[in-house]
Symmetry: C2
Subunit: 503 residues, 2 copies
């Protein structure tokens, strides 16, 4: 067999496995957007079959043989050669897919489904007790999953690596600690300052107008509707079926303008990343974001660094006022900017502001580690949750539904690896933005004139078109000239909120 | 192995094959409704993979072995026992799926795609010449397909059997001839009578109101929106993903009220059949319509026998007038009824009225047979088309785009088997309706009072819930007490149009 024939065969097999996964993604998207209620049973069967077929296709031993045969070719190439990168990434995926036995995956999937269904029932009743035995099994399953990747330093490391390649507890912990040590005094200074009023965005804003404005904004920042769609769902998400078909979803709260607006920009940020990958990588593992954390860097960058900046609104606010003259006609720009950036220690992560958000995430990250380490029993999790919220944010949930039952993650997947990506995303987003500013200092002025194209082009060149050719660490090192670093985020938040709260 | 374990295994395998096909159907539906333009390339790949996987799953030799092992059990049962029917139908499908080699299917699919793309370009240019060589290959491929089913009397028989089980040229020809001999003088008598005016439905009718009214009508006749959806597409169709998810599509012509209205009722008729199958058959081959012709009997029955009847409009017309007071406020019921039933020999099959429609279909059916028999060369097809239109309908298309290039069927599939189902549907629909009237003579009065529930319940009991447990012939014989028969349709059309045209 020639190298070129093996490579062609490998690509065809990888494309096929991904096309099956993408087909499942279409069915899932349909399920959350347009499927009638009666379709649930059939859809469950169809998704189960496609999921099994995708796994079979991705773990076909012939892929392993092709990768073995191609290894000498790969090592003969410069490391950032496309073929070398493809073989590296395909090997990484193949190892993961083949190390986890199908029997385990099915057992874990069944347990997840059952736990999720139980959580949906138990959460409104604040009934953690009924979920405790299931969560204990989830913890066992999570440790079992880690066990398929022996040689780790911390039991959470393999679970983190599954979504954030190369990250470990030993690397994340000091960076997160540095961030927390910087954020806690900032939160305290803000709490002591004159508070801002979010009344301007807590009026009635009709759905149709909110949607129209959000569409206009994401179109302007570069989301390509010829290669995507925006539809309503209960929980917003981004999904990629192909390079030419990257869809996002949103939801509307008619009594809170910030929800749909920033959630749509957030998902559009994810989509800009996927739409910005190279067309020639379509269907291949190189053609997608390189990790959950780097993906989140883009959603958070467009949502927060761009979308919640004063410059951005100095351009867009008149348009928004024209859309909502009654609600916003008498609210000036600075008050609107303050309203969408109000900082307040609250109970719910997904509603949290830019400053306290990472404190929410780090509480969960630390509790995950303690559970996995055996330092914390599942039975003691609700109280540990309250204790950390009290110490880190100064608030205590009156009920478990806003405490330990708040997020779906532990009740629909593994414990470990679920939360770090959010704060990694904020950290990496700030690092990448600083790097972009270094190359193109005019970006803030351009944003203030309504032009985000330079920033998009810079991200496309340095991040999006790279796809998975670089690991997250390689990407950060190459683009930002150093390792993961909490300081750019801390500097950015400190400067922004010192100004906003006149600290 | 026990019979019950084999049967369970067989059902699981049949369900899986169908779930893969249904997944492909979801992707196809999305492609025609919501997919952005950029998604085409990826979608083509995904559909090709799912189509191959569905075929592999449906032709798994283990299904053949299970069917062999279950044969003694099947013959020990009464023929309409569910298990016997399931094994019979599964065997029928398995034989067809395994007789056609995958290599042939891929070759034919590629040729179809290429021919379809060429037709889309060539039709507006009236360029039959450029398509001729491709159509000659299609004819060869159609004969090759028939060759996988040796022992036929007429080369078209296997192609017809693929969609209308049990039907043959020898059985269809005399029935069609009888129909044509009855229709031709009726058309002549209508042509000699005072013409009716379809001006009332050729005004401007805004899309939103048309859609609202059509939705209301199909909901009233029993289309269940909890288990389906209605969306716009270029070419209307019905598609089933599961018993609980049977969707239809429609298109609007704002300058012709009859198009969306009757096309929506037509597709809803198909959907009532699928929604009316038994829930317990979901995912199994018993749970679907028994043939293309019987399926068409339901779409045509609801569209024409019910939807174009005077009684139906004596109930619905005031509501329609209220929706379009400017356009219809001064048009009385009888004039509206005449307008939506205007008979005129025209060039386009899909726009044809109830009387001439079958003449269009039979022209195509006869030409297909002549091509397959070698009596007609592809090169002579355009002239043969004109000659038959001249003799049967008295019209001649000025251009081939409204002549031989008019329908997509020959340019996107095989020659043979594509058209008979439409006229079979009209014939069978009239037979079934007469049988329903025999049992429930009050149906016309109920329809005139806006209540179609007795008719739906009768169809559900006698046709829909039966699914594929009876072949088309068995169904007609059992329900109508005799074989396929053109007379009920001829009697119905004669009576209706003698009244309408005062013949």
């Amino acid at each position: 067999m020639s190298v070129q024939s093996d490579l062609g065969d490998l690509k065809a097999r990888l494309r096929e496995a991904r096309d099956i996964s993408s087909s499942a993604a279409v069915l899932y998207w349909d399920q959350t957007t347009f499927m009638p209620a009666g379709g649930a049973a059939g859809r469950g069967r169809q998704l189960a079959v496609l999921s099994r077929l995708a796994h079979e296709s991705a773990t076909d031993p012939e892929i392993g043989r092709l990768l073995d045969r191609l290894e000498p070719y790969a090592v003969s190439l410069p490391p950032d050669h496309d073929d070398a990168a493809l073989i590296r990434v395909a090997r990484y995926d193949y190892e993961i897919n083949t190390r986890v036995p199908a029997e385990y995956s099915e057992r874990a999937a069944k347990h997840s489904s059952a736990t999720y269904a139980a959580w949906v029932e138990a959460r409104p009743r604040n009934d953690f007790a009924s979920l405790r035995p299931m969560l204990e099994t989830t913890l066992d399953l999570s440790r079992e999953l880690a066990g398929f990747f022996p040689g780790y330093d911390h039991v959470a490391d393999p679970l983190i690596d599954l979504v954030d390649e190369g990250m470990t507890v030993a690397r994340i912990r000091p960076v997160f600690n540095e961030l927390r040590q910087g954020l806690t005094p900032l939160v305290a200074r803000i709490a002591a300052a004159d508070q801002v009023d979010d009344g301007p965005v807590r009026k009635h804003f009709p759905q149709a107008q909110q949607s129209r404005f959000a569409e206009r904004v994401i179109k302007a920042i570069g989301y390509d509707f010829e290669r995507g769609r925006l539809d309503p769902t209960a929980h917003p998400f981004m999904t990629r079926f192909a390079h030419g078909d990257v869809r996002i979803t949103t939801r509307t709260n008619e009594d809170f303008l910030a929800e749909q607006l920033f959630s749509t920009i957030h998902e559009a940020g994810h989509a800009l990343y996927e739409q910005g990958t190279r067309a020639k990588d379509d269907g291949l593992p190189l053609g997608s974001g390189t990790s959950a954390g780097v993906h989140e860097s883009q959603s958070r960058l467009w949502e927060n660094i761009v979308g919640r900046s004063l410059g951005f609104w100095s351009h867009w606010y008149p348009t928004l006022q024209a859309e909502f003259p009654e609600q916003l006609g008498n609210v000036d720009l600075r008050d609107f900017y303050a309203a969408v950036n109000r900082v307040e220690p609250t109970l719910i992560r997904t509603d949290a502001d830019e400053v306290t958000y990472n404190l929410h995430v780090m509480i969960r990250f630390d509790l995950e580690l303690q559970l996995l380490e055996g330092e914390l029993a599942v039975a003691d999790l609700p109280e540990a949750w309250h204790a950390r919220y009290q110490s880190d944010l100064g608030v205590r949930a009156p009920h478990d539904r806003d405490g330990v039952l708040q997020d779906v993650h532990w009740y629909a997947g593994s414990i470990g690896g679920a939360f770090q990506c959010y704060t990694l995303g904020n950290i990496i987003g700030a690092q990448l933005y600083d790097a972009a500013l270094c190359d193109l200092p005019d970006i803030p002025e351009q944003i203030a004139s309504g032009d985000t194209s330079s920033l998009l082009e810079w991200m496309s060149t340095n991040v999006y078109r790279v796809g998975r050719r670089l690991t997250p660490d390689q990407l950060i090192e190459r683009v930002c000239g150093g390792p993961l670093d909490a300081q750019p985020l801390l500097r950015r938040l400190t400067a922004k909120f010192e100004d906003l709260y006149a600290l």
